[in-house]
């Protein structure tokens, strides 16, 4: 099987989707001729022409609003927001329009759009190139929210998202684009070509939305993670020697509650990890669900390890980022409490 970076896997997903279905169109800022600032759409304009892959004005509202109109017409737009930090101007179109169109028109009009955006930190991008806004989507009924953690999943989930009849927010952990990152920023970088999850089938395949994956099975405690934090959690398990079950949620809404509950009922302990700020982060929802469904199995309080409740800083990046040390400490605490 070929090995791909996450960028190549994402590009391959769009390429295959555009080849199979001429209704699929791709656009966004710098997405056309240049192929995107992260190169995810490189070559698509050349291959499919300017009216199926093109540059847009710098208006996230315009990008999503136009996509909704196109979807209502019958196309399948897969659009890019250059960084997740810049989706805010489009939030009204996402929440008030894309998410509610099927409901409010009783199915007469639907909005099968995919909104891709690079998310998360770890690249010294400071406040406006590092945010993890997933909880701002998970609170919105009508949206589906995906965060893949590796090339294989990214491709299968993106194809599934494009084929999905509902609006999907597709968050791409930018720190994982070129290789798995476990939070040890001072160690050499591993490329996807050296990692099993860099093995990506060439052709069409999908990974179903709403299915988590157990990345490491274990019996001591359950770690719920997604995106970059999956690898941080795996590193913390290794380093603490705690036999953690590490679950990569992959899809936040709809959530694979079954897998989560089965695991926590088995281990009796739970740590939740994300990069986003703590308060009202998606970890809060996970903690609420776990205590509700696993109350009588839980031996110690669920712990959350997250970004602090501050804007994402520049110089202090590694004090902000929830690395393996902080995750490991929480794992130890949950074992000992």
């Amino acid at each position: 099987m070929p090995r791909m970076t996450m960028i190549e896997a994402i590009r391959s997903a769009m390429d295959i989707s555009m080849a199979r279905d001429e209704k699929v169109v791709v656009f966004g800022e710098d997405v056309g001729y240049f192929g995107g600032v992260f190169r995810c759409t490189a070559g698509l304009q050349q291959k499919y022409g300017k009216s199926r892959c093109f540059d847009t004005p710098i208006s996230e509202l315009g990008i999503v609003g136009a996509a909704i109109g196109m979807a209502a017409y019958g196309l399948r737009p897969c659009v890019e927001i250059q960084f997740a930090d810049y989706f805010y101007p489009a939030y009204d179109q996402i929440v008030s329009e894309a998410a509610r169109l099927r409901f409010r028109s009783a199915g007469q009009f639907t909005s099968p759009i995919v909104v891709r955006m690079p998310t998360g930190g770890g690249i010294f991008g400071a406040q406006t190139h590092s945010q993890s806004p997933e909880a701002l989507f998970t609170h919105v009924a009508g949206l589906k929210t995906i965060i893949p953690s590796n090339p294989r999943d990214a491709k299968g989930l993106l194809i599934a998202a494009i084929e999905d009849p509902d609006p999907v927010i597709f968050l791409e952990p930018k720190r994982l684009y070129n290789g798995p990152f476990d939070g040890h920023h001072d160690r050499p970088i591993m490329p996807w070509s050296k990692h099993d999850l860099g093995e990506v089938p060439d052709g069409h395949y999908t990974i179903p939305l709403g299915k988590a994956e157990i990345m490491r099975s274990g019996s001591d405690l359950t770690v719920l993670a997604y995106g970059t934090m999956t690898f941080v959690a795996l590193a913390a398990a290794e380093e603490t020697g705690i036999d953690a079950e590490v679950i990569d949620l992959r899809t936040l809404v709809p959530l694979d509650l079954e897998t989560i509950v089965a695991s926590v009922r088995k281990t009796g302990r739970c740590v939740i990890v994300h990069e986003a700020t703590l308060t009202s982060g998606f970890g809060a929802e996970l903690a609420a669900l776990v205590q509700e469904h696993c109350f009588y199995s839980l031996e110690t309080p669920i712990q959350r390890v997250t970004g602090w409740d501050t804007p994402y800083p520049h110089a202090q990046e590694w004090d902000y980022f929830p690395g393996p040390k902080r995750v490991g400490e929480a794992m130890v605490a949950v074992m000992e409490a």
Binding site: S59, L61, G69, G74, S96, E97, L101, R104, P165, E258
Partner: protein, 410 residues
């Protein structure tokens, strides 16, 4: 710096407030027939003055004048009159029904009937409107059943949108009427996207976007103009300037530009201003703009100059912010009366036939209401099911919603 006098904030005010005597003599109104009609492939920069004028066809004597006249046969014009009369009768009944507690809310079109009724007749089947809540004439003029409209207003068990939306937030794909959103302006850019999709698909359909004067201040208006201008989308961008946005007069949204149509000039697109109370003028301009779009000549911005005669909605009382008789003084007159007079002058209509038509239409509306009420009203009779609340959020109900539906016991 001492040699500069202190600054102060300029806050525009309408000339008239409650207690004042309405006087619109300062509103410049060109004579019917006086504004030229350029070819549809005109260069936008050669017709900039059309953004500051008002295209009018019907004069005070009920004659159709000038180069924009003649877009409709007498028969078509008669149909137009009927559409407007139907919308007005419909409004009156539904306004009353709201007062009787049969629904929660209603919004009338009084004085603005010509805009949506005439525009619709310039479209072809398959075209798509992205309307606001004050263009139900698009539905009426396209033959959408009144009963279905009423079912929606009553949120009853036959409501096409299953009780999920506020009254008047209709939706009909079949009739080219996009689902109305309560968030102002959002649909303006969506219309441009729909039009772009038609172009991408090498189709011949066009889109039509609708917005109120007040709502042009919103973000989506700008995005729509930017995208429409850049991609030359086959779309007509309609601004209904009915002088008011709830209690706020149009000067607050418009600012220093003389007109809303002028907004189009900064985007290099043809921008026309038209007498919105003149059915024939609206139709002629709509046809021109629609033809431009369909011929691949790109977007047109059209401002309809009209007046919101009624309150903003059933929740509003305009006497708190404008003179009670302001609407009587409105110099562009009543669209129904103007078209009626024209048809009488043409010799195809009379006062008697008008009265008779009024009665017939009224009967039809009353009959439709009876029919609709059989399906229930908001607080009585048939209701949409509670299950419906959980369905349709997604194409397939995800597990968490299934759990919640069970918790709700439905």
């Amino acid at each position: 710096m001492s040699d500069y006098p202190p600054l102060s904030l300029h806050v525009p005010e309408p000339e008239l407030r409650p207690g004042d005597t309405p006087d619109f003599s300062n509103v410049a109104i060109p004579k019917a027939g006086s504004v030229p009609r350029p070819p549809i492939d005109v260069d936008a920069k050669d017709i900039k003055e059309l953004a500051y004028s008002i295209i009018r066809v019907l004069n005070r004597e009920g004659e159709a004048k000038g180069p924009w006249a003649g877009s409709l046969t007498a028969e078509e014009t008669l149909a137009g009159l009927r559409h407007m009369m139907t919308l007005r009768a419909f409004d009156a009944r539904m306004q009353l029904a709201q007062r009787q507690g049969k629904t929660s809310f209603y919004m009338q079109h009084t004085g603005e009937e010509a805009v949506s009724c005439a525009f619709q007749r310039a479209l072809l089947p398959g075209d798509m409107n992205f309307p606001t809540y004050r263009q139900a004439g698009l539905l009426v003029a396209s033959g959408y059943p009144l009963v279905d409209m009423m079912n929606q207003v009553f949120s009853n068990e036959a409501d096409p949108v299953k009780g999920r939306q506020l009254p008047v937030f209709y939706s009909s794909r079949e009739h080219g009427f996009f689902s109305i959103s309560g968030n102002l302006a959002t649909q303006f850019i969506q219309a441009v996207g729909w039009a772009m999709a038609s172009a991408i698909s090498n189709d011949t359909k066009i889109a039509s976007a609708w917005i109120g004067d007040g709502s042009t201040a919103e973000n989506d208006f700008h995005a729509a103009l930017v995208f429409a201008s850049t991609y030359r989308a086959p779309v007509v961008l309609n601004i209904v300037n009915n002088q008011w946005a709830i209690s706020t007069f149009q000067g607050i949204a418009r600012g220093g530009s003389g007109t809303f149509a002028a907004r189009g000039l900064g985007f290099g697109m043809p921008a026309l201003r038209v007498d919105g109370n003149d059915y024939l003028a609206v139709h002629a301009v709509a046809k021109w703009a629609v033809e431009r779009a369909r011929r691949g000549l790109g977007p047109t911005l059209v401002e309809y100059v009209t007046y919101r005669v009624g309150p903003h909605s059933t929740s509003d009382d305009p006497s708190a912010y404008r003179p009670k008789t302001e609407s009587d003084a409105w110099p562009l007159g009543d669209p129904v009366i103007r078209l009626k007079n024209h048809l009488i002058r043409l010799g195809v209509w009379s006062d008697e036939r008008h009265k008779q038509a009024e009665a017939e239409i009224q009967d039809g509306v009353v009959a439709a209401q009876k029919e609709a009420e059989k399906n229930g009203t908001l607080h009585a009779g048939g209701k949409p099911s509670v299950r419906d609340m959980f369905e349709g959020v997604y194409a397939e109900m995800p597990p968490h919603l299934r759990r919640q539906r069970q918790q709700a016991g439905v």
